[in-house]
Every structure is written in C-alpha cells, then in structure tokens.
C-alpha cells in the first residue's frame, strides 16, 4: 500500500500524466459531454424525426443487404470484422465464381457474361474501385446501377422478388463463409445493418420512459460520456505508463532490482497507481457531471451513482488495457514501443468501425465499446450481456498483461532477459 501511494504520487507529479489528464478533459469538452450539451426531454408528437431503428423485417432487409453485397461484389472488395477487427477481403477466382452464383440467385436477372467481364475489368483495372456518388446511381425502384468506366455498359442489379427469407438467409450465410466471417451478412449483424425504419412517436416515448425508469436520466448521460471517454482511454493511458517505466532506464534499474520487494508487488503497485491516476480526471468529471445533472433534473430524479458505475464498469477495463500495454512493452523493450502498439490497436478499433456498431451489439474484442447517442436504453439493455462479457474479457486481458510484465520484470532483474536496443552489456 505504501509503494502504491508512492508510485501514485510520482505519476500524479509527472508532466506526462498532467498532459494526459488535460487531454482527457479537453476531449470530453470538445465532444460536448463535459459540460453536457444536450438534455433528455420527453418526445413531442409530430416531430420531424425520432431517429431510426432496426426493423428486423425481411422485406426490407433482403433488398438492402443484397444491394450492399452486389456493390462490394462489383469491385471485389468486401469489408468484414473477423474477431472484431477491420479486414478488407478480396476474393480469389474460385471464390468469386462461388459469389457469382450467390449474386445470380439474388438477382432478378441472371448475370450476363458481359456483366462478369465488366466485373473482371473493374477488378483488374485498379483493384479497388471506390463506389461513390458519382459511380453509383439509384434507379428509384429499389434497384440501382453501377456506372462503369467510360464507354462501357452500366451494370444493373434488381433484387429477385421471389426470394424467400429462408433461402436468403442460407445465401447470406454462404456469402459470409466465403468472406471468412464477420461480414455485414452474418446472422449476427444482418438484421442490424439493413432494414432500418424510422422510430415512431410511441416508440420514442417508450424509450424515454425506460430512460427515466431504468437509467434515472444520468445513466443515459453516463453511457454517452462512456462512449467518448472510451475512445480517449483506449489510447492516452499508455503514455504515463511508458513514461514511468522509461524512468527506470540507465542506472536506476539496479537500484530497484536489488531491493527486497517481490516482482509481483512492484509491478502490481505500479499498475494500480497508473490506473488510479488516469481514472482520477474521469472520476472528477463524473462527480461534476452528477452535480450538473442534479441541478438540471433535480437530485431526486437522477441516479447519483450512475456516472461512477459506468466509470468502473465501462471505462475502467479500457484504461486498464492501455496501461497494461504500456507497462508490458516498456518493461520488455526499454523503449516507447508500447505507444506504437497501442496506437495501432486504437486506430484499428476506432477507425475500424467500432462506431458503426453503436446500439447493435459489442464485438468480442472491441476495446472501445460504443453507444453514440443519448438514451437508446432498450438497445443498451439488449446488448448488455455482450458488453458485460466484453468488459470482463478486457479486464482479464489487462491482468494477463500485468502477469506477463511481472514475469519479464522478474527475469530482467535476474539478468535472464536482456532486451536492449540502446546499450551494450558491460562485462
């Protein structure tokens, strides 16, 4: 406990921590969650829009999903998230032939040879043709047209009206298998990604009432806060961790290594101190936001612990992982390599489409869970079991990294592991 306090003091006084804490608060400010820019209000009848939701209606899902698949098929570039990470798939000749069959069955008209030839041209011309507003033209009847390079025949796709949901599901499953899983056509995601319909007033009202009864208002705000804080906590905590461990370089390490303290206690104290430090600005913001909402809605109407519950349950595992990555790779390499590792992970996780999964579920290895909206309480309750699993998984990943760090630290202090890019060993 004494060492934990000492390490916490060292972290809190470090410039890197102060910069990281400022970064965390600044990010919350720029994203409009500190102070909060929006409040939860009861929906009014006859509003222009109440948002959209997944309908689960096969009649809507099927043509949209088929069209989406056709667009990706046309350029032979598919976006998938196998194991939660973004991956672009390009099918080989054999698999393209199998996809040809799926597309042909989905289409009202069998694909002509000329279409296939055009597909080949598209695929081979530049290998990754981007479909944008200029090359994709809706026909206005549920079908659309791919505009091919100048002088060539546009490709038409019209969804087969006789397709049954059962058969469609089989074809989509086959397509997902061809793509290696994790595509929008998988059983998990298809009904969320396609067939969106407007939310009705009654539904918006029901969600509002759920937000009042279940979230007691602050729960909904805390979710949106967690959504943004997750993004920043998925990256910034690595910096104080790296900075603290790099402080042991040069001639300081033997001072620490020859002490009586066990490697487990030393690494654990550091880890806990770093995580505590990085959560301090978050917890302070949570306290301030609870006060702000208390004044807005009345303290009797809110859950005063909501922000803190979300901080510990939602945000903490993300901060733990970023910190553990910093500790592990810096202890192992004595370099700031952890920053690069965490940056890549963060980049893949955030820009790899974690935002696209807001409200529809949490991928098993999604470091930063998203819920980019105020309310949507039912959607949250629907994916809560996945979220719980995800958060426990990441807390465990962090602890495993801490265990690895302990092993590496212990080996290094006995001279059993010598990973140094800067210094030759002195004899």
């Amino acid at each position: 406990m004494t060492l934990y306090r000492k390490e916490l003091g060292r972290v809190l006084k470090s410039l890197m921590f102060l910069l990281s804490a400022a970064g965390i608060v600044l990010f919350a400010y720029t994203q409009g969650v500190f102070p909060p820019h929006s409040t939860i209000t009861k929906p009014e009848p006859n509003a222009a829009s109440y948002g959209t939701k997944a309908s689960g209606d096969p009649a809507l899902i099927m043509p949209e999903a088929a069209e989406s698949l056709f667009v990706q098929y046309s350029v032979n570039q598919y976006t998938t998230y196998p194991k939660g990470f973004l991956k672009y798939i390009k099918l080989n000749q054999a698999d393209r032939a199998k996809m040809d069959e799926i597309i042909a069955e989905l289409s009202a008209d069998a694909l002509s040879d000329s279409t296939r030839e055009t597909d080949d041209t598209l695929a081979t011309n530049n290998g990754s043709l981007q479909i944008d507003g200029g090359s994709l033209r809706p026909n206005g009847d549920g079908s659309f047209q791919i505009i091919t390079p100048e002088g060539e025949t546009p490709i038409d796709f019209t969804f087969n009206p006789d397709m049954t949901w059962e058969r469609f599901s089989v074809l989509m499953e086959r397509a997902d298998d061809l793509l290696g899983g994790g595509s929008d056509y998988s059983d998990t995601w298809m009904s969320h990604r396609f067939g969106q319909v407007p939310i009705t007033y009654e539904e918006a009202l029901a969600d509002y009432e759920l937000t009042i009864s279940h979230d007691k208002l602050t729960g909904a705000h805390a979710r949106l806060f967690s959504d943004y804080m997750g993004i920043i906590l998925g990256l910034l905590p690595v910096f104080p961790a790296v900075f603290l461990c790099l402080g042991d370089r040069k001639n300081i390490a033997p001072m620490v290594h020859t002490r009586r303290i066990s490697s487990v206690r030393f690494v654990l104290a550091r880890f806990l101190a770093l995580v505590t430090a990085v959560m301090i600005p978050v917890l302070i913001m949570c306290a301030v936001l609870t006060g702000v909402h208390g004044l807005d809605y009345g303290f009797g109407n809110i859950d005063i612990f909501a922000y803190f519950k979300y901080a510990l349950f939602w945000m903490l595992p993300t901060a733990m992982v970023s910190t553990a990555v910093g500790l592990f790779f810096t202890t192992l390499t004595n370099t700031p390599a952890a920053v690069a590792v965490q940056l890549v992970w963060w980049f893949v996780d955030t820009l790899g489409g974690s935002g696209a999964y807001s409200f529809y579920g949490i991928r098993p290895l999604q470091l930063i869970p998203r819920h980019n909206g105020l309310g949507k309480t039912q959607a949250y309750l629907d994916y809560l079991p996945e979220l719980i699993q995800n958060r426990i998984r990441f807390a465990l990943i962090a602890l495993v990294l801490v265990a690895f760090t302990t092993f590496v630290f212990s080996a290094k202090r006995r001279g059993l592991l010598h990973v140094s890019v800067f210094k030759r060993r002195k004899i």
Binding site: K6, M255, R413, R414, G415, I427
Partner: protein, 299 residues
C-alpha cells in the same frame, strides 16, 4: 583472520561465446576487499552476479551462508552501488531514500531513523531537500552509498565508485568506505590501484574472467620485489626503454625523464632496483599473465 562472508567456488559465466568469468574461486571476509582488473576483466559481472542481477551458469556463491540462488534472501543482506549511480532526478535526497526504503520493505519509522543516520554519515544533512538532479558528482555518490546501506546490509558491493570524482571527494569517499567496512564486508571494484592501496587489506586481480591474484596488498608487492627499477633517461632514450620494458610510471623533468619499469626476468642494463608500489605490482601481475605466467597457481 575473520570468517568468510562470501565464498565463491568454480564460478563460470559467459555471454554467448564470450566467457566473462572462468572457474573463479574466491573468499571474501569482513572489511574492505579490493577487486582490480582491466576494463572487461569480469569485475562488473562478478559483482552483479553476487548482487543477484545476473544468474551464474556454473559454480557456487554463498553470501553469509545463503546460496545466491535464493535471490529474495540475498537482497536482504546485500547493498549495491553500481557504477554511475543515478536516481529519479525529480526526487529530493530524502524522497529518493524513502522510496528505496519502501522497496526494501522497511517500515516508516525504520526508514526515518536510518535515513537520518545515513545522511549524517555521508554528510548530506544540508542537502536533504535538494533534487537528485541538482547534486554534484560527489554528493550523488554519497547518496549512492547511503541508499546501498539503507537496509543495513551485511555486504556492500561498490562498483568503481570514485570514477569521475575530484581528488578531495575521492579521499573522502574512500574514508567513508573504510568507516563502513568496520562491521561489514565491502567489495570495492575499481581499476584505480591507488584506491585499493589506500583502503583494502585484501585484494583480487581479475583478467579475462580468471583470478590472477588473491591475497594482501603487501603480498602482491612482495611478488614484484626485485622486478621494479627506476632510471633517469633522456627523451630520446625513452622510446627504447618503452620497447624493451613495461613502464609503470614516467615523470618528465625538462629534457630528461624518470621512469619506473619492470624487468622481471633479468637485471636491466640501466637503472636501480626500487621497492615496488601497489601499482607496479599490479602491472607486474598483468604483464606476467600476458606472457602466459600463472600467478593464480603461485598464490
């Protein structure tokens, strides 16, 4: 003769193909013990191995009855001051010692008591609130000694502690080590023979991982008896002397120089025999080893 605090038997350690320690045998008792050798002789490897910072490959090291494999136990009884000691620059002298005291498992009252005693002993009482980064080289080394003694170890290992210190600080530091060595075993590794001569009764000389000599300074000097000469030569004659003998010291005086040189095998054509100093004897020892002499067997 006091009982051995450290027993080293057949110690071998290598880094890949480079053998840093070769079948080393050594007994170190309480008091000051000097470890001499060229750069790369294996001194740091030996000290780090005793301090549990490196794992031995073969042989045995027992420190105050505890085999070195029991690292946690060894760390309780060993204090270590590495070469170029440093601490977190942003900490004050007291904070640095307090932090390391926590790592040594000391209670708050123990830390307070020991820190106060040690700061007085190393003469840093005036600088307790000074940041480590603001300390001079000498003050930093004294802080280094204080941290190594913090948990009151039975054995103190200091690796080239006087390198970079001015002469006054060097003398003060040597005196401090002697004071500490009254009730501990202090191993002083250095390539400055004067430091060892002034402080250590017993010494060991390492060369390429082998023990060249183990014994008292006077015994070392005795081995060079009759092999050290001095002569006054002109600057023109100096290159010839250099080519013919191993020179241990040259004192230039205008156009002439007084040289001390070794001639272990025969009486030289010039010069008079002189009583060897520790430095002469040390170089004699190394030059013998260079010529394939086996001093280890001789001692």
């Amino acid at each position: 003769m006091s009982e051995s605090n450290i027993q080293i038997r057949n110690l071998t350690k290598s880094y890949g193909k480079k053998q840093a320690l070769r079948n080393l045998n050594l007994d170190i008792a309480s008091g000051m013990f000097g470890l001499l050798g060229r750069n790369g002789a294996g001194k740091t490897t030996l000290m780090k191995t005793i301090a549990t910072l490196l794992k031995k490959q073969e042989g045995e090291i027992i420190v105050c009855g505890v085999p070195v494999e029991k690292a946690a136990e060894i760390r309780k009884i060993i204090g270590y001051l590495p070469q170029d000691f440093s601490m977190y620059g942003g900490m004050t002298v007291t904070q640095a010692l307090d932090y390391l005291g926590v790592l040594s498992g000391m209670s708050k009252s123990e830390r307070q008591e020991r820190i106060s005693i040690l700061l007085k002993q190393v003469n840093l009482t005036e600088h307790t609130r000074k940041k480590v980064r603001a300390l001079s080289g000498g003050m930093k080394q004294r802080l280094g000694i204080a941290q190594a003694l913090l948990h009151d170890p039975k054995v103190l290992i200091v690796d080239e502690p006087t390198a970079g210190l001015d002469p006054e600080e060097r003398v003060r530091f040597r005196n401090l080590l002697c004071e500490i060595a009254e009730n501990k075993a202090v191993i002083l590794s250095t390539h400055i023979v004067g430091d060892v001569e002034a402080t250590c009764e017993k010494i060991a000389i390492l060369d390429e991982g082998r023990l060249l000599f183990g014994g008292t300074v006077s015994k070392l000097c005795g081995m060079a008896e009759g092999s050290v000469y001095t002569a006054e030569v002109t600057q023109k004659e100096l290159p010839k002397i250099r080519a013919a003998y191993t020179i241990t010291a040259v004192l230039s005086q205008g156009k002439n120089s007084t040289v001390r040189f070794l001639s272990p095998d025969s009486r030289p054509t010039i010069g008079m025999p002189v009583t060897p100093g520790a430095e002469d004897a040390y170089i004699f020892c190394l030059s013998k080893a260079g010529k394939g002499g086996n001093l280890h067997d001789a001692v």
